[in-house]
Each structure stands twice: as structure tokens, then as C-alpha cells.
Symmetry: C2
């Protein structure tokens, strides 16, 4: 077979071989039933390693273009012929269905996806998203945990599992929750695909059309996207130095039939504020008085660098109204999509049924690997190490900001979590600043991104966890530089930006 | 330390050690800061292997009760003390919140979960659920694929991934779909957590309150549980020898504003019927005439044992209205929770946004392991082997049924899939038969379980894939025995059973 290989091409040799054979099969130059040269011979002809040809053949086999026959060789497969016929789907019809006629325009917003993507632009220092530092993950231990569970559990990892969760992982989480003062039985605990799904399950179970939900404003954008459902009203509660403004919440509960309160009491995203013990107790008292379930997202709770640990709402709750949510995503396993919810037996039962209808159960392999990783004590070690590293990064951010940010700019350095919150003078717009920062290859998340009502323009969030100390220092100094220039210019005229065009800017 | 081990107890030694030490820590007998004996010494005292003690210590460390200090030893950890205080959550309050006040009673049904659980009862031959035969799974290859991706991808497997899916898996699926005549670009393909989630995403994107959806009746119970949402009307289309009754569908489309048609054209669950080519073309013509999207669930499509392959609706569609769904669950990877949807670019874009709001993305590790497993050609081999084994099991079922079922009983032996459909004389009730079969340690799924409207009582589904040939033969003969007895009795009075009590029986 005549195959031309170009070692200067930025294309692996096996890909070149595969693509040229595929082309010949699809053009009919190699007809069905034609025997291909054995990989050893073709490799010799082309002067490449035999594995290179084998890899090309393996891909073509996976595509169904060729097939092997033991003792006879490798042949062009019959269905290669079907691909040569003009496929019916390729005929472009006169009247294509207009899918847009089915969708409401407001379902379209994908700003969360775009923010997540912006973190991956090459050459850019991104302080935009709360991603864990992958440098901290002990991949050798993840590999060992995976090998151990594959050996121990075998094909059980592949079978349908329990909707409630992989029992050994639930046992581990029960012990972990107990340490935080939360004592739950197995049926008061549900494994989910992370806090995003936990929020979605709460919506499914508790919130119908024409219902109201109260949550912090600003908040995590994934939250309000869950409740962006026709008829559901999300009521924003402002965030002060002690987290959710409880006077405002109380007035809201008095005037509205609220079905669910959502709160992020530790290192609130995006402001970094935490609720002190007294505020947590008052929130629970309000929930009890108005008989409204209150669900806390504790996703950053394990990442405390300063100050006193404060019990979760669920540990303080005596009414059964509190629901606790957490996940493995912020300590370094977001790709595994494993989180959990703890609550009263009856609430968890309903959430479990909703979970079953949503996707039957969470993937078992990920749960089993995490359980093994945790049970061996490796998660605790990872948390301890992560706290140290992030505390240092926060100090790097603080040092650079204190040296370079002008005095008009206030920074909330949180006691934990993954981000600091920067407040600008009222006449400065964080989105405009982002435009200038982007030119200097630094990105962050402007405040407006986190508001679903009454957007603030003069603030932004700086995540400090996923970049090196040196990048962090450089990025903060660039921002300091920009901030000094902007403030020096004494700009007072700020263009009014409508909410919708603002979101589109992110 | 005084620890009493009982080797006659059905409790591993390390568990006995762990539990006794835990008890002592929680009672205060071992106070915070107390040093535990080194595992080597304790093992010698107790006459057990050192690993036994290490395992006990590892668990206690994971629970947070003890902690190690390099070079110093192992000590009772400070937070053990916090567990000794009466936890606030343990105080039982006077007024517990009544969660039931929040839920509508009709949200409660968990029959799918119970059917799945019934498959696991010990000592019972279950022909109740469509589970793959785990004996066929080459666990050594799954292990090799897992090791390969962990080596190659490293910590990327742990990071946030793309909502659309893991790109190499999408590439593989594009090639696989091409073989079935479906040519899609990457953005016309979405990875989901399996067909259950695909159905749920369709509901989220296409179906609002007061909308109608048409689907086969009977059907997969997970389907109608997805659409069991206030205000949504599910219209059941009867199933005949050629699958969905298209005359009935046409009349339904004329008289109702249907927003979505759901269909299972290959080896329909539960009846095993397949739609011939002409029926598929007519269904597409109806969808085009009424401008209604039509989503096909092809989850059993790869498992054909007889007859001619028939192109999926998506391959025949020229309007863009067809959406294709499939997953890895029925070939042996249900625990991985990975499936896919293919459709027009605009539809997939909306479904992707809905997926992002539901749980951000599908777990990466499972996707990567499956891609590796597929790319190496192992999935194709598994499918070929599975087809052979299941075809044989279907023959075993047929042989035993033909020998033992009375002539009044009709069996639909399908051309593929995982189940046969058994129709009884009108006066026999499959649920009553199930009661008697259970006494003889055989279970199956009565027809009524699959009807969301107008339940039939005189039919049941027999899954033949997850039991050994010998068990299958025995179970079918037991059923034949029962059927002969029932029919001989000439029972004509059949108790009317209401739908709700019937579902509760499953």
C-alpha cells in the first residue's frame, strides 16, 4: 500500500496512516473484502514501529471500516460500502424544522459556561473561576485508590447501583458529618452529582410554578440558573458583613410565601463573607417561625485558613428544616461529579426519588474511588495541605494588593474559600476594568455576573487558588496598576449598562 | 490495650478492633491526646497480622478519632472530645417540621426502585429487570483501560470538564453513529448520564406545564416518571406487532397539541416489538406534518440476534426533528452512567444548557475509561460476544417455554433486546401469578407495571440476560408449571385490582 508519511507534519504518524487508509476505503479504492497488509509488513515498508500501524488499524476497526479474522488477516468491512452511498441524512431538505420556535429566548443564557471556558484561554492568568489547584492532587494516590477498588469490587462497579449512593461512601460521609456535629442515619443522606444537582433536586421537590425562593444576591450563577423556570420567583437577599441580611430576609418572609431559603454561610460565593454563630441561630429561628426549609451550601466550608470553625446550620437545627449540601468538587475532584445532601429522613426520601427520576444514581466508579481515597486518610491529608497552600496564596494576594491597590479600593480578605471580593468606588465599572485587564492577559469575574437582581457594577471577585504564587502576584499587581490609572483619571461619568447587555459581556 | 477478639463472630477482626477502640474513645476511657500502642505491638499482643491493626487504625483516622504524628506515634484526636458532648441535633424538639405538608402524595411512587431492588433478593431467580450479564464483562480489560487513561490523562480526569462531553468519547461515538447512518458534528452530540437523564433533559427543554407528550403505552416506567410533573399530559399510544400504533398516533396528533413524541423502535420495552422500515418512515412523515420533535430511545438497538438491521429514525430523518438516544448501560456499564443524544445543532445546544443546569457535566473518569475501552475495539468484541450469548439464552427460554407453556399462552420472542413478552388468557392476572411464582423463588415484571394508562393485567415481561442458562431453563419451567395449573383450574373469576394497589405489589 502506498502511504506518504510526513514527519514534519504536526500530526502523529498513526493518524496519517489511518486517515490515508480511511480515505482510500471511503473512495472505493480499497473495496469491501480487500485484504490489508499485515501491520508488521506495512510497518517495515513505511519504516515505522509496528505499534504505529496497529494503532491506525485499531482506530479503523473501531470505526467499523476494517475487521480482523483470526488466522486469515485484516479486511475492509462490509459496512464500509454503506458509507460510500450518499447517506440519507446528507440530503438537505427544503423545510428544516425551526427548533427556535420551541424555545423561549430567556432559556438561552450560557454565561456560566462562558465564564468556565474563559479560565482556559491560553496565556491568560485567570482569577475568574473557583477551581482547585490541580498541582496539589496526588495522582499517584488516586491511581492507587482506583486500582484498589477495581481489584476489590470488580464488576460491581459497572452494575446499576443504589440511588441513595454507594454505601461505603455514605458510611465515610456519616463519620465526616459527625465531626461537624451532624449526626445522620444512612437514609438521611443522599449522594448526588455535586451541589449543582443538589440544588436542582431541591427545586424539583420543593418548588413549583408560582412559588418563591429566597437566596443571597449576589450568589453563585449556577444557582439562579436552576431556578430560572417559568413562574418561579427568586427573591434576592442582600449580603452584608455577616452574610445574608436577616432583617431583609425576615421582612421578605413576612410579605411572601417563600418555599425554600438557600444560603451559603461559609465564605459566601462571591463575597467571601461568613455568617457568625448568632446569625445562623437567628436564621434557623426565622425558618422555624415561618416553617420554611433552609438549605445550606457548604462547598467551601472545609477550606478555612483563619478564625474559628462555626457549626453548620444543620448541626444547630432542632426542627428538621435544615438541609446540608457539600461536594468533593472544591478540594480537587470536580470531574468526578460527586456531592451529598443531608437532611430529615422524609426530605431525603423525596430527594432520592427525584434523583432516581433525574438519572437513576451517581456513577459508582467515582464514588468508590473517592471512598477508598478518603478511607485511607488521603483526603484529610489533601485538605490539610490545601489549606496551607491556599492560605499562603491568599497572603500573596493580600501582600500584592496592599502594596498596589489605591486606598479607594476595599478588599474583603475572607477567612477561607477560594476568592477575595474587591469593592471599587461607585463610579468605577468592573466590566470596563475587565476589558482593560484582558488586554494585559488577566481575567476575573465582575460582580454583575453574580447578581440576578439589582446588579452592582463596582465590584469583582478574585479567585486565588488555581494559579501559581508568581502568576497571582503578577496578576494582582497588573490590576493594582490599572486601578491606580483609572482612579487617577478621576473618571466620574460611568456609562449606564443594562443588565442584559452586561451579562452578554461576560 | 485490652481488646477481646472473637474469631467465631461473623465480623472481621479489624472491625472488632476498630469498634472496641472507638467505643473506648467515645466513652472517654481513652482521652484526647492519649497515645495508642503502635500497630506492630498491638498486633503482637492480639496475635493478629499487623495489617489488621493498621486497617482498624486507618478507619479510626478517617473518622477523625485518632491522628498520627510523624516520629511520635498515634494519638486520640482533639475532635473526639466534641463527639462526647451531647450533639445539638440529638435534642428532639417539641415541634418537628412536617415535610409531608410540602409534598403532593402522587410524587411518592417508587415502584421503579422497588423493581430494581427485587432483582437482588438472595436465592431468587430474577427475570424482572433488564440487567446485562456481568459474567460477560472482561474486568481485566476494564482495569487496563482505566490504568491507561489515568496514566495518559492524569489530573485532567479530576478537573471540571465540558458539558457537551469528553471530546475523545464524542469522536468515537460520531464514528459509531456514522456506521448506523447517522452523521453528526461534535455539536450535534451530547453526552448525558444515560437515557434516564436524556429523557429528563428533553422534558426540561421541550415540555412545559399544560403540554402533551405522546409515547408508547406500555413503556419503560422511568419514562413516565420523568413526565409525572404537574400539568404535563402523557398520552399513551398502543403497541401492536409493528410497534407504536401509527393510526392511533395520527389521530392523537390531529386532536392534541403534542410537543414531543417518544418512541423505542428497536425491541420495544416491554413488548420486544420492532418498527419495520415503512413504519419508521410513516412516523417521520407524521412528525414532519405536525411539526413535532420525535425522540427515539435505541438503548437495546445494538443487541440484535435475528432479522435485518433497520436504520434508526435519525438516519432516515430529513427535517431535523429526530433526536437519537442511547447509552452504555445495556451492554454492561450501567454503573458508569454514560449515555448520549444526537440531534439537530439547535436542539442539542438547548439540551446542553439544560444539562449544565442539571449537573454541569457527566463524570470524566467514566467517559475516559469507556472511550479507551471502545477505541481499543473491546466494546465491539463485547457486543459480538454478548449477542451470541443472549441469542443462546433466548433460545433456552424458547425451548423451555415451548415445552412447558400451555397453548393458551402466547409468547413474543423478540429479534433482539433483553426480554420476551408473554400474553395470558384474558382471565389470568400476571400479578397473581407473580405471587405464586415468588413462593417458588422466581420473579418477573407483570405488564401492569409498564402501563401508565389502561393497564393490562394478562401479560408479563421475562428478561433472559442476567441469569445463567440453567437458572433460566429452571425458572421458565417453573412458570410453565404454574401456568398449566392456573389454566387447568379454569379460573374465570378474576379479582379486579385497582391500578394503585397493583403498582404497590411490584
Amino acid at each position: 500500500m502506498l502511504i506518504a508519511l510526513d514527519t514534519h507534519l504536526n500530526k502523529p504518524l498513526y493518524v496519517q496512516i489511518r486517515d490515508q487508509i480511511r480515505e482510500r476505503i471511503l473512495s472505493g479504492a480499497l473495496p469491501v473484502g480487500e485484504r490489508l497488509e499485515p501491520s508488521r509488513e506495512l510497518a517495515k515498508q513505511l519504516g515505522v514501529h509496528r505499534t504505529t500501524v496497529s494503532n491506525a488499524y485499531a482506530d479503523l476497526e473501531a470505526e467499523g471500516l476494517i475487521e480482523g479474522s483470526v488466522g486469515r488477516g485484516t479486511f475492509v468491512a462490509p459496512y464500509a460500502a454503506t458509507l460510500r452511498q450518499p447517506a440519507p441524512v446528507r440530503r438537505r431538505p427544503a423545510s428544516k424544522f425551526h427548533w427556535d420556535s420551541l424555545f423561549a429566548p430567556d432559556q438561552e443564557d450560557d454565561s456560566l459556561g462562558r465564564l468556565m471556558a474563559s479560565a482556559q484561554e491560553p496565556g491568560v492568568i485567570s482569577l475568574a473561576v473557583t477551581h482547585a489547584s490541580s498541582a496539589l492532587i496526588p495522582m499517584d494516590l488516586v491511581r492507587r485508590a482506583t486500582e484498589a477498588v477495581l481489584r476489590r469490587e470488580g464488576s460491581k462497579l459497572l452494575e446499576y447501583g443504589s440511588t441513595g449512593g454507594y454505601p461505603p461512601l455514605k458510611q465515610y460521609l456519616q463519620a465526616r458529618l459527625r465531626r461537624d456535629g451532624i449526626t445522620v442515619e444512612a437514609d438521611e443522606l443522599l449522594i448526588t452529582n455535586g451541589c449543582q444537582q443538589s440544588l436542582d433536586l431541591l427545586r424539583r421537590v420543593l418548588v413549583g410554578p408560582y412559588d418563591s425562593v429566597a437566596c443571597e444576591n449576589p450568589t453563585y450563577p449556577g444557582l439562579w440558573q436552576v431556578f430560572d423556570v417559568p413562574g418561579v420567583r427568586l427573591i434576592g437577599i442582600p449580603v452584608g458583613p455577616e452574610g445574608m441580611d436577616l432583617d431583609y430576609l425576615e421582612a421578605t418572609l413576612e410579605q411572601n410565601k417563600v418555599k425554600l431559603i438557600l444560603v451559603n454561610p461559609n465564605f459566601h460565593n462571591p463575597t467571601g463573607r461568613s455568617m457568625p454563630l448568632a446569625a445562623r441561630q437567628r436564621l434557623l429561628a426565622l425558618a422555624a417561625r415561618f416553617q420554611v426549609p433552609v438549605a445550606e451550601d457548604d462547598i467551601y466550608g472545609g477550606l478555612r485558613y483563619a478564625g474559628q470553625e462555626c457549626p453548620p446550620l444543620k448541626a444547630l437545627d432542632t426542627t428538621g428544616l435544615a438541609i446540608y449540601m457539600n461536594s468533593f468538587s472544591k478540594i480537587g475532584f470536580p470531574g468526578f461529579r460527586v456531592g451529598w445532601m443531608a437532611g430529615s429522613r422524609r426530605a431525603i426520601e423525596r430527594l432520592r426519588i427525584a434523583k432516581q427520576r433525574a438519572d437513576l444514581h451517581t456513577n459508582i466508579l467515582g464514588q468508590a474511588v473517592l471512598e477508598e481515597f478518603c478511607r485511607r486518610g488521603w483526603l484529610e491529608k489533601l485538605i490539610r495541605k490545601t489549606r496551607k497552600v491556599y492560605a499562603h496564596k491568599l497572603a500573596v494576594l493580600r501582600h500584592a494588593a496592599e502594596q498596589t491597590f489605591p486606598p479607594e479600593v476595599r478588599v474583603n480578605y475572607p477567612e477561607g474559600g477560594m476568592a477575595a471580593w474587591v469593592e471599587l468606588p461607585a463610579d468605577l465599572d468592573a466590566s470596563e476594568l475587565l476589558g482593560k485587564a484582558r488586554e494585559r492577559r488577566v481575567v476575573f469575574a465582575p460582580a454583575r455576573f453574580f447578581y440576578f437582581q439589582n446588579p452592582q457594577h463596582n465590584a469583582f471577585r478574585l479567585c486565588f487558588t488555581s494559579v501559581s504564587d508568581e502568576q497571582l502576584d503578577r496578576a494582582v499587581r497588573i490590576l493594582g496598576d490599572l486601578l491606580r490609572t483609572e482612579i487617577r483619571r478621576g473618571r466620574t461619568a460611568r456609562k449606564a449598562v443594562s443588565v442584559s447587555s452586561a451579562v452578554a459581556l461576560v
